[in-house]
């Protein structure tokens, strides 16, 4: 039976009468919106895993709401594939290190890669605003084509809509994608185990600061570039080196490293401990964060991958990451522990400990 969604249902998220920007910030409010509004309405086991993409297989009726009682473990048999979607509304459309087109490819490719999948096919949906210069659209489309080629994916279907002037912000892009999950690969946030090691493939927070500097007209001595990149090649190298010892992959986009690790700690019911001194952040990015009063742990990334791997495989995975162009500055930044389940702690540079909570909205620059 299909559970019926009726407008009689009380709205499950009643704290806010309207959507605010904080609902899209990747923090607690975003999560609340997803869990109480969307997951409660669309309830199904694939969705409830709350990973970057859904892991599906042809054997069990895809889209059959009737399997709600099925054990998620039964979704494992091969051939499995990952399915994911993301929308891109970024302003400015062009920024140091990328543009909305390359980002739309990288984002969905990465969501698939974080499921352990090899991304194959993407769709592209364009919502264009009347008046968008054709030359800009061409630049964006060419950038998408180039990004898809580098990532080894094909954009195989699409859709175009044009809205009246004033009803959109130039261009919004949605991409969805599918990728194949190799046999033996089992990546899920819930698989983090005490003793596991947490790695990241390079300096964090560059994307968010790059966008912010362009958007707000902030200029720093060195221009900060977005880290936007397709991570599927790196993930293949990680899986080749770590195999089944690789438990979790996650790209810390909105909400940053802090929010991603909190989500992992919550779904695996484990604690995570970070070592601040070992978390790579570019000098100019750190400087910008200091000036704005931002914590790099909460700033968005578009080419970063958190890897949680069994301790015995950590060195091999780290070495493999460092051999890849997108992982040269990879580092071990923390570990998974049995203590303080669902909480992320950080050892500060001077040796103190504190909790790293999820952000409730977006970070706002402080007064002084």
């Amino acid at each position: 039976m299909h559970p019926t969604f009726s407008l009689q249902c009380p709205i499950p998220i009643s704290d806010y009468p309207t959507i605010t920007l904080a609902h899209g910030g990747g923090g607690k409010l975003s999560r609340m919106l997803v869990e109480r509004m969307f997951v409660s309405a669309f309830a199904n086991p694939e969705l409830e895993i709350l990973h970057d993409g859904a892991v599906l297989d042809w054997g069990l009726g895809v889209g059959d709401w009737g399997i709600a009682s099925a054990n998620p473990q039964s979704l494992i048999p091969s051939p499995r594939f990952a399915f994911s979607t993301d929308s891109y509304v970024i302003s400015p459309r062009f920024f140091p290190g990328g543009d909305i087109g390359s980002l739309a490819v990288h984002g969905t490719v990465n969501d698939l890669a974080m499921c352990g999948a090899q991304p194959r096919y993407l769709s592209a949906g364009f919502i264009l605003e009347e008046g968008l210069p054709m030359a800009e659209l061409w630049r964006i489309v060419q950038s998408m084509a180039a990004a898809a080629q580098v990532a080894g994916v094909r954009i195989v279907t699409g859709d175009t809509k044009v809205v009246e002037r004033g009803k959109g912000d130039g261009i919004f892009i949605n991409t969805a994608g599918v990728g194949v999950i190799p046999a033996g690969v089992q990546i899920a946030p819930a698989r983090a185990r005490p003793g596991d090691v947490v790695l990241v493939n390079g300096p964090i927070a560059s994307h968010g600061i790059a966008i912010m500097s362009v958007r707000e007209g902030l200029t720093f001595e060195t221009a900060v570039e977005s880290d936007s990149a397709a991570l599927n090649g790196l993930v293949e190298a990680i899986l080749a080196a770590g195999g089944e010892a690789v438990h979790v992959l996650r790209d810390p986009t909105r909400g940053g490293v802090a929010s991603s690790l909190n989500e992992i700690a919550a779904s695996a019911r484990v604690g995570i401990r970070l070592d601040e001194a070992r978390i790579p952040v570019l000098e100019e990015v750190r400087g910008a964060c200091e000036i704005l009063g931002f914590d790099p742990l909460y700033v968005a990334n578009e080419g970063k991958c958190l890897v949680i791997v069994a301790a015995e495989a950590a060195e091999a995975v780290l070495a493999a990451m460092r051999e890849h162009p997108l992982g040269r500055d990879a580092a071990i930044i923390g570990q998974v522990v049995a203590e303080h389940p669902r909480k992320v702690y950080l050892r500060s540079r001077i040796g103190g400990m504190r909790v790293v909570d999820m952000l409730s909205g977006e970070q706002l620059p402080r007064i002084c």
Partner: protein
């Protein structure tokens, strides 16, 4: 990174901690004035590394926290007006006003209430913009001659010169569509209010380094003398704070009082004279309401009569708006160092960063938000 890493060095931090441990013979209560200092102390974990005899209490130096509730309501009233572009620093946008917006959530006729803040005004169509400098608001006023641009001018002596400069520039340019909603407050009168209170527990102060960058520290000398209290001008990095605490404990243990300067790389006794001159040109010292604390005489700035045309309260006639505080919130006691955030019955339950009852839970500099975010439960 230069000028940052030197002040976050673990080996040096350890040296200061050991020195403090060797020095301390009894319990001392020290207040850091500034919310930025509170934030660093909790974020770097210094509060838990210090010997147990030392109690840190968190002072009123969080501009968001001490801005009276009725001023938030006035800001919201102005921001709702269609002709207004309301500009503010980021962290004022999330402070809830007193008005509860009532809305029906469903046909079950359940009624929910939610506090309004400037972000929700924006979500409902108000033109609310975050700026990084009051001078950006002046530029907006130049660029939009058909709109009224208002800047929310809050903060201590640190932000006052920038706001004074904005008003001064707007006058020079002859702008008639720029104004500020002004709620500037001053540190020394607040310290005097704390020291003069019969319940005072504070024995030594870490004065706010950035305030002293502007004002110097000569104004603290009579306070230190009158209340026989050590006041150490202190910076914002972990090692600054550790050294400031060391200097305070040393003075306390030796029975000394007076003003000392830890933050010598930024602060001089006389302060920044051109900034002080500009402040005197644009502002008068006036009585101010402090959220949670009440009226403190001669504790803030208002625009001088010559600049009254830039006063948003007058321009939009919102001076009469008043507000009622939540009876649960003990922000006043927290801002005076009488209670710690987790000693509040609403902390973490009815009051969280998502649903703050009082401003110290909203601002990144607020003591309650620091305790909540960094897990001091």
């Amino acid at each position: 990174m230069r000028f940052v890493d030197e002040y976050r060095n673990e080996a040096d931090a350890r040296k200061f901690l050991n020195a403090i441990e060797r020095l301390v013979t009894r319990g001392w209560t020290i207040m850091e004035i500034c919310g930025g200092q509170t934030h660093t102390l909790i974020k770097s974990g210094i509060d838990r590394l210090l010997p147990p005899q030392i109690t840190l209490v968190h002072g009123p130096g969080c501009p968001v926290c001490v801005t009276p509730l009725e001023l938030i309501d006035r800001a919201i009233a102005i921001a709702r007006r269609p002709e207004v572009i309301f500009t503010s620093f980021g962290d004022m946008l999330r402070v809830p006003g007193s008005a509860q917006q009532t809305f029906e959530v469903s046909q079950t006729s359940k009624v929910s209430r939610v506090a309004q803040d400037l972000l929700s005004v924006k979500a409902q169509g108000g033109d609310v913009r975050m700026v990084y400098s009051p001078l950006d608001a002046v530029k907006l006023a130049q660029a939009h001659p058909d709109r009224q641009v208002v800047f929310f001018a809050v903060g201590f002596e640190t932000t006052a010169p920038g706001n004074a400069m904005a008003v001064w520039q707007a006058q020079q340019m002859g702008l008639t569509n720029f104004s500020i909603l002004c709620s500037h407050v001053l540190v020394p009168p607040a310290m005097e209010a704390i020291l003069g209170s019969p319940d005072n527990q504070v024995q030594g102060f870490l004065a706010a380094g950035h305030v002293c960058t502007v004002m110097g520290y000569w104004e603290y000398e009579p306070l230190a003398e009158k209340y026989r209290t050590p006041i150490i001008v202190t910076g914002f990095e972990p090692l600054d704070l550790l050294q400031g605490i060391y200097m305070t404990v040393k003075a306390l243990e030796e029975g000394r009082w007076g003003v000392e300067n830890q933050y010598t790389r930024a602060v001089t006794r006389g302060g920044n004279r051109p900034a002080q001159k500009l402040l005197a040109e644009v502002f008068d010292v006036s009585d101010r309401q402090w959220r949670g604390i009440g009226l403190i005489p001669r504790s803030g700035y208002r625009l001088r009569p010559a600049y009254a045309a830039f006063d948003a309260e007058q321009r939009f006639g919102v001076g009469g708006v008043t507000a009622q505080e939540s009876p649960l919130c003990i922000a006043g006691q927290i801002l005076q160092g009488l209670k710690k955030p987790h000693e509040c019955s609403a902390f973490g339950g009815q009051c969280t960063p998502e649903h703050p009852l009082g401003a110290p839970m909203v601002s990144s500099e607020g003591a309650c938000a620091a305790y909540y975010s960094y897990g001091r439960m």
